[in-house]
């Protein structure tokens, strides 16, 4: 088996599966799952430990393949009568490979489109187009401007500004944020004064992201130190901080 192909040349587990399917001329509609799983695992073995980040997605697929393989090994249920057969067809009767097959077929479709796009891109790169002629002098009558609202103006402005080519990125260099220890003291003092405060009030719109993170860490630290309580009623809701009696 040619194992000189490095794992990171594949776009993902589906890409690798495809490589194996094409190499072995496997019929997607009737995948020899045991054989494919074995070959897939051979590739996965090539992933060294320091590539674990990359590996996780490949490992999920390995688990899926093994699960399908084990399902295939189970004896199929004996069919007693038509009624139970129908009930079974909904669930256990389905080929365990079906879901994988559907996903592979869908992925294959987009892989092919991507290749088509690549060809179009290469072709387009070698030709120049012409800007449209300015024809505004062709129109001598009144230009209709009826029925526009302030909202129309706003959205026109937003879209025209959005179309502008992104300017060179200027990255901001911010001061070192307040050290965590000082932030802990600051947050605790604020809470001692007010006894109850919303987390969002601990910073404003201008506060750099890093400082917000430090503030959040300070809150966690204070909770751990059992100095404050933090309650969030719903997902993405406000976090209410209260001071605990010491």
């Amino acid at each position: 088996m040619a194992l000189n192909v490095k794992i990171d040349t594949f776009e993902g587990p589906f890409d690798l599966l495809f490589h194996l399917i094409e190499k072995n001329q496997i019929d997607i509609y009737d995948i020899p799952i045991a054989e494919l799983t074995e070959q897939y695992l051979d590739y996965i073995d090539k992933i060294t430990e320091n590539q674990l980040d990359l590996a996780s997605e490949f490992l999920v697929m390995a688990a899926t393949l093994l699960s399908i393989k084990s399902k295939m090994l189970l004896p199929s249920m004996p069919k007693q009568d038509v009624e139970s057969e129908l009930a079974v067809a909904e669930d256990d009767g389905v080929d365990p490979r079906r879901e994988l097959m559907q996903k592979l077929l869908e992925y294959k479709k987009f892989k092919e489109i991507a290749m088509l796009l690549k060809k179009k891109e290469e072709k387009e790169e070698l030709v120049f187009k012409k800007p449209p002629e300015d024809l505004s002098s062709m129109w001598t009558d009144d230009i209709p401007l009826a029925e526009i609202t302030f909202e129309d103006l706003k959205s026109a402005f937003k879209s025209v500004m959005g179309k502008k080519k992104p300017e060179e990125k200027v990255s901001k260099i911010t001061k070192d944020p307040m050290p965590l220890s000082r932030k802990v003291i600051e947050v605790y003092q604020k809470l001692r004064q007010k006894s109850k405060i919303f987390f969002s009030r601990l910073f404003d719109k201008k506060t750099p992201k890093l400082e917000i993170i430090t503030t959040f860490l300070a809150v966690l630290e204070l909770v751990k130190m059992k100095r404050i309580n933090a309650v969030q009623e719903e997902q993405f809701g406000e976090i209410v901080l209260t001071c605990r009696e010491v």
Partner: protein, 167 residues
């Protein structure tokens, strides 16, 4: 209308537009049949094939437009500022293909089709203005929905997404 005259008008129309013009629109404006327009296009193609011409007709779906010939690319590039276009990576192309046909779509949905993280590919495509954010899905987390831009069609010389067929 005579063939020669119609050819001249079609050339003028394509030149003026710069963008693709549909065959039907041309036929309607010339008050003639689609067949005659197609015949003119064929004759113009023969004409442009001569080395003394640097332009050609490209077909984009049901439309046609004029572009320069690929073989004079180096000369034109020399006069105008060189095209700086780094080609899209395989990951970016796959991601874009999915956005094209499934738009509007969330990052999670794209990732479930590709089976891998698409963070980097999406940010490349956003940066190149080939896709844009198009609202948010009203489910917990309110994930961003992505769609292709008009610039995307232009980038690939497509009139519409239907020009890329999937079956």
């Amino acid at each position: 209308m005579e063939l020669q005259e119609a050819m001249g008008i079609i050339e003028g129309v394509l030149f003026t537009s710069g963008n693709p013009v549909s065959i039907d629109e041309i036929a309607k404006a010339l008050n003639t049949s689609r067949e005659l327009v197609l015949e003119c296009v064929k004759q113009l193609e023969i004409e442009y094939n001569k080395p003394c011409h640097g332009i050609m007709i490209s077909k984009v779906g049901n439309s046609i437009r004029l572009t320069t010939k690929p073989d004079i690319f180096p000369h034109i590039e020399k006069i105008f500022k060189p095209k700086v276009r780094s080609q899209l990576s395989k990951a970016a192309l796959e991601t874009l293909a999915i956005v094209m046909f499934k738009q509007p779509i969330t990052k999670a949905e794209i990732e479930s089709i590709r089976g891998v993280n698409c963070e980097k590919a999406l940010s490349t495509l956003l940066e190149k203005n080939l896709i844009c954010e198009k609202g948010r899905l009203s489910v917990p987390g309110r994930p961003i929905l992505y769609a292709t831009t008009d610039e995307c069609l232009d980038y690939f010389g497509l009139e519409s997404i239907d020009d890329i067929s999937i079956d």
